[in-house]
């Protein structure tokens, strides 16, 4: 479905105020005030377009959005709402808004260390310390066709470091020659885009594309849906030209490996439900490959949640919202978790480190027995 963004001024006039977006918005479902849904945010954007001053209350509502894309899917006037939200954040950034919010810390980390946590670059190698098998050429190996782009969250958060460990061991087992950018990896820029700081993100994009090309790679694999979406869909726009790299999400890569029978998962007599990450599903259109991966595991029963694929509920983890309003993230995650529990599954699997974090936190807070896994981790357990 084609969507339009002709600029804040025009799109906010085009909005019909029909509220289709409101009906699907996870933030509105959690908070309930008209101001908290996309229709309310359009009203705020209209004010911005008219040059009216925006208060902190307005700013807060702009940042209380996971950029999940659900509103864009249902909009009958075909407003590319997510793109509009980014423009609106750009408008706020230009007015110095970031400094008023915790977002400032993330921005400063990105400027100082080129990652979201502010860790020193060497910490990007920590996940490699306890791999079950040694993988040669894991860092910046020249003349390697495939680069695995690890991403800040998976690389730097202890809770998710199992993901790069799992994926790199899967690739090694499938005898894929690959490398990573090691400690030279930098954030893909997605959090900066989410703050409306497109210029800085463009700079990061240029540096990274050059680095991958230095290695001589032609394929880039990302396990993080946001990195994947940014590399695949946003970089050509930021760079003003195609980068010439083939971008694959890990789930696509694994699906290919399974089709080619380069992996041999062992039977798992268990019931699994699958959560579509917004940046992989709605925002990138990838729905089938992760399901193919799960269905390739003998004995596994895949049960869908009430809302899935294009209609999947958001986990709450996107759009930088965790730094702005963690309680809201938790409330949104609880709602998704409830749908997962309704399926009676033992495992909730998702191909995203951020969805895994938010849903696993919700599962812990709700004291459920549901085990939350990233897809790569889950597959690695079966090999």
């Amino acid at each position: 479905m084609n969507s339009f963004n002709t600029g804040i001024d025009h799109e906010t006039l085009v909005c019909a105020r029909c509220g289709y977006c409101q009906a699907v918005c996870p933030v509105y479902a959690a908070l309930g005030w008209e101001s908290t849904g996309p229709r309310g945010r359009i009203a705020i954007a209209r004010q911005a377009a008219r040059g009216a001053p925006l208060s902190l209350d307005h700013e807060r509502r702009v940042y209380q959005c996971t950029l999940c894309g659900h509103c864009r899917e249902v909009c009958p006037t075909r407003i590319d709402t997510c793109d509009l939200w980014l423009d609106l954040r750009g408008h706020l950034a230009a007015k110095g808004s970031i400094a008023r919010w915790q977002l400032r810390v993330v921005r400063d980390n990105l400027l100082a260390q080129r990652n979201i946590t502010g860790d020193v670059p060497e910490n990007r190698l920590l996940w490699q310390q306890n791999l079950e098998t040694e993988i040669p050429g894991l860092n910046l190996q020249p003349n390697t066709r495939v680069v695995y782009f690890v991403g800040c969250v998976a690389g730097l958060y202890p809770q998710t470091q199992g993901i790069p460990q799992a994926l790199s061991q899967i690739l090694a087992q499938a005898q894929i020659s690959f490398t990573t950018l090691g400690s030279a990896e930098e954030c893909c820029g997605f959090p900066l885009l989410g703050m409306g700081l497109e210029d800085i993100a463009a700079d990061l994009a240029r540096r990274k594309v050059a680095r991958v090309k230095e290695i001589g790679a032609s394929v880039l694999v990302a396990a993080c849906p946001s990195c994947y979406h940014t590399w695949r869909d946003v970089y050509p726009h930021l760079l003003g030209e195609p980068h010439g790299l083939q971008i694959k999400h890990a789930s696509e890569f694994l699906a290919d490996l399974l089709t080619e029978q380069r992996l041999n998962p062992q039977p798992q007599e268990t019931r699994v439900t699958y959560h579509d990450p917004c940046d992989l599903g709605r925002n990138s259109g990838i729905y089938d490959p992760p399901r193919q991966v799960l269905n390739a595991i003998p004995g596994l029963e895949l049960v869908e949640m009430a809302e899935h694929r294009e209609h999947a509920l958001c986990c709450g983890g996107g759009g930088n919202m965790e730094v702005v309003d963690p309680d809201l993230v938790a409330a949104i995650a609880r709602r998704r978790l409830a749908q997962a529990l309704e399926t009676g599954a033992s495992f909730l699997v998702t191909p995203c480190q951020q969805c895994k974090r938010t849903l696993a936190n919700a599962a812990r807070a709700e004291r459920t027995r549901l085990k939350v896994f990233d897809l790569n981790e889950f597959v690695w357990r079966t090999l």
Binding site: R17, G40, H58, P76, R100, R104, V324
Partner: protein, 503 residues
């Protein structure tokens, strides 16, 4: 909320309605910031007009989550004579859910969810702000379906449609919503929780089409059906409006009865193209659409058993042959069916759309269209028309044209054409589809005198203090009294005509 520089987000002032603030807690606000979001519906009204006519910003907004909370709130409002505006998805255009005297907006959206499905008696019980799309999805999962729904189903609520006209997709086959209602739980203007049924006193029918003026519906029990086994969509074209009307009349009374009939004219397609949808299937397949070709498209949908759907296709074939129609590609028909909730696509041709929706005898459609064509010519405005046949003899007809609310003077001139379109409908036995605030000047044309008198009597009986959604549905605001309204709008229309002739 992690704000680096802690700032006071809103002034701490004692609440205007302290009891409500205490009882509803976080689901109640008097904040300037939040209240400002409740002063609009779909209508784009120039600020000057808005300021002249009403106080659209409420003093407070409350989000009760059950009938008891609604009842307590209404009792309080009743005791203190505070105006109340019930608001659900706010997908209406006549300020139906916009306050006119401030007061309290009761945002009903926390009353959301399917309560139960009775498979034996084929009924569903829902909270009133459940979306039609939510109910349909929940029913489909269990093998059931709604009988009908509005073409705003993705957001419109069941309580909202009960309070409005209740005709839409499926009405032709299954009748108006009112015929499907078994029970309404409603909080009356004095705060009493009342169960309205077809036998109760007052009757359930009193609360249908009441536009939120007789109480707040909190729960609804309505008829459902087994999910149809099959669906068949057909897209037809007619080269003139007489043929179109003949075909619609024949189809509306055909056996089997179509589930839905939706029609639109060539101007509608042209507006879609102007809106930037020229790459869509519709245009690729309808080549040869000349600017002045009076051409009409009809989407006819049959559903039910596979046999019924096949029988529908046969009936349709005969009608098309008899009325010199043409059958278009079946895949287009399916595509159009999938777009049945997206009529607002047209808005991209605006950015504002103005127009009027009327309830019109089906056998007057051709006269209406011819008359409207004269208006189009005189005012030099591209008016697009579409509609749905909703009973064997009646259709809704929506005629819209692009405008731009950001050009205030032109926009105010354009507003006058909405009256001109209604005038066309009145000349052919039509009436406005929905009243609210803005259509109140047409009340005497919308209802027969006896019917209007009866409605006013019900209002006096149930809401003598006139706290429940005042200024809607019974009497126009002073400045909208027919005498001022007609004169003002007609003068503006004349000015617009002169202006457009000189351009």
């Amino acid at each position: 909320m992690q704000l680096i520089e802690e700032t006071r987000m809103s002034q701490i002032a004692p609440p205007r309605f302290p009891k409500l603030a205490a009882s509803l807690g976080e689901r109640y606000t008097e904040s300037d910031f939040e209240r400002a979001f409740y002063r609009r519906d779909l209508a784009s009204v120039p600020r000057v007009l808005e300021a002249m006519l009403a106080r659209t910003t409420p003093h407070a907004v409350a989000r009760p989550q059950n009938a008891e909370e609604v009842a307590a709130l209404v009792q309080y409002a009743h005791a203190h004579h505070i105006p109340i505006t019930p608001r659900a998805a706010a997908t209406t255009v006549y300020w139906n859910s916009v306050p006119t005297r401030g007061g309290i907006v009761v945002d009903l959206n926390a009353l959301r969810g399917v309560v139960s499905i009775d498979e034996e008696h084929l009924t569903a019980t829902v909270q009133s702000a459940t979306r039609w799309s939510e109910l349909e999805t929940a029913l489909n999962r269990r093998g059931y379906a709604t009988l009908s729904y509005p073409s705003s189903a993705p957001s419109a609520t069941i309580g909202g449609w009960v309070n409005m006209e209740g005709h839409g997709i499926g009405s032709l086959k299954y009748g108006a919503l009112t015929q499907q209602l078994q029970r309404l739980e409603i909080v009356l203007p004095n705060g009493e929780i009342f169960q309205a049924t077809p036998e109760s006193n007052p009757l359930l029918s009193w609360f249908v089409r009441a536009e939120g003026t007789l109480g707040i519906v909190t729960e609804i029990e309505l008829a459902i059906r087994a999910k149809p086994e099959a669906i068949g969509n057909h897209w037809l074209a007619f080269s003139d409006v007489t043929a179109l009307q003949r075909a619609l009349v024949a189809l509306a009374t055909a056996t089997p009865t179509p589930y839905s009939i939706h029609f639109s004219d060539a101007a509608h397609l042209r507006l879609l193209r102007d809106a930037g949808f020229e790459t869509c299937q519709v245009f690729r397949n309808l080549t040869g659409l000349e600017p002045d070709t009076p051409q009409f498209q009809v989407l006819v949908t049959f559903d039910g058993s596979a046999q019924q759907v096949a029988a529908g296709a046969q009936t349709l074939k005969e009608v098309v042959a008899r009325c010199a129609g043409e059958t278009l590609d079946a895949s287009l028909a399916n595509l159009e069916w999938m777009e049945r909730f997206a009529s607002l696509r047209l808005k991209r041709a605006g950015p504002t759309l103005l127009g009027a929706e009327a309830w019109l005898p089906l056998n007057k459609l051709a006269d209406y269209a011819a008359d409207l064509a004269r208006l189009t010519g005189a005012q030099r405005v591209p008016i697009a028309t579409y509609g749905a046949v909703v009973t064997p003899t009646m259709t809704t007809v929506m005629s819209v044209f692009p405008s731009d609310e950001s050009r205030t003077i032109n926009y105010i001139l354009d507003l006058s054409l909405t009256k001109k379109i209604y005038d066309v409908a009145f000349r052919h036995g039509g009436r406005p589809y929905g009243i609210g605030f803005w259509n109140a000047p047409y009340l005497h044309r919308a209802f027969a005198s006896r019917e209007l008198a009866e409605r006013i009597a019900r209002k006096r009986q149930l809401d003598p203090l006139n706290i429940m959604n005042p200024d809607k549905a019974y009497k126009p605001a002073f400045l909208l009294s027919p005498i001022f309204f007609d004169l003002g709008m007609d003068t503006l229309a004349l000015a617009r005509r002169a202006w457009s002739a000189n351009r």
